[in-house]
Symmetry: C2
Subunit: 169 residues, 2 copies
């Protein structure tokens, strides 16, 4: 085998390892799609890079927002609006005390997994974003999904392409 | 080009895209190594998968803990102690109010990047872990690094392989 072929094989093995990790990443991904948008929990989302973290103390919640490679590239380049194919996933958990460190809290029981998928044409009525909100892998109802864009529109707005989360340095 | 060759090329391109993302991921990685342990900020850590999130309200901090592929695999398989080559990185930020959502907080100014690297032989005196604590890419002093294992030993303990963070489902 020549050098180029060896390099290709090595790269293919590396890609396969990462692909396997993505494909088999734990999570509650299943085949249920959200109403209105038909958005599913993306396969491998638990292996997506971290975009930022957030908390709403009054909800007793702590969250991690992750994104696919396209999302990370867009954040890093400052691309707005986000390109088609961007996927953002917010993982929310009840915060629970950290065993061993008084005053510290960590992610406990998961509450929701919420997904935003960019497709400017398909989701043109909602700023180009399709939404999915899942509890234990099951999508919420129509009313819950009608509220998604209304809130992102009013509170994040078009200038941020309806996305709350900034990339945490 | 035959099918196998095409597949190898496609895989190589995918691997190259991910490798490029890892290699050029933003962050404060530089060449400075921690005292005592000689641990550096790992290249591409900002593209590592999310392990869990945490907060210490009295510090006004919110954190995200990420890990390399070996770390994620060990968490998923429940492997303890973690295998050599495991890398965990805690990213800490001041929490700041989220513009547009009253009562919500997000990651703001970064405070520290803290690294744990597993090498059972090299770091046998400290539970097999090497530590690095960085502010703006610069490692802290000897005293700071002497405190790492003392605290992980006393508060997380050997039964958790001196690691506080659990994998957030």
């Amino acid at each position: 085998m020549n050098r180029v072929a060896r390099m290709l094989v090595t790269s293919a093995i590396a890609a396969a390892a990462i692909a396997l990790l993505l494909a088999t990443a734990p999570g509650r991904a299943d085949n249920a799609a959200s109403p209105i948008f038909g958005v599913k929990i993306p396969q491998g989302y638990r292996a997506f890079p971290l975009i930022g973290v957030s908390q709403i103390p009054s909800f007793g919640e702590i969250r991690g927002i992750v994104g696919n490679v396209r999302a990370v590239k867009a954040y890093r380049a400052g691309t707005l609006p986000f390109p088609d194919g961007t996927v953002l996933v917010k993982l929310a958990w009840k915060h629970v005390p950290l065993d061993g460190v008084e005053g510290a809290f960590v992610s406990g029981t998961p509450t929701k997994v919420q997904v935003m998928v960019k497709d400017a044409k398909k989701f043109s009525a909602t700023g180009g974003w399709g939404f999915g909100s899942f509890t234990d892998g099951k999508p919420g109802d129509v009313a819950e999904h009608q509220a998604c864009f209304a809130c992102h529109d009013a509170r994040a707005g078009k200038s941020r392409d309806y996305v709350f989360t900034r990339f945490a340095r």
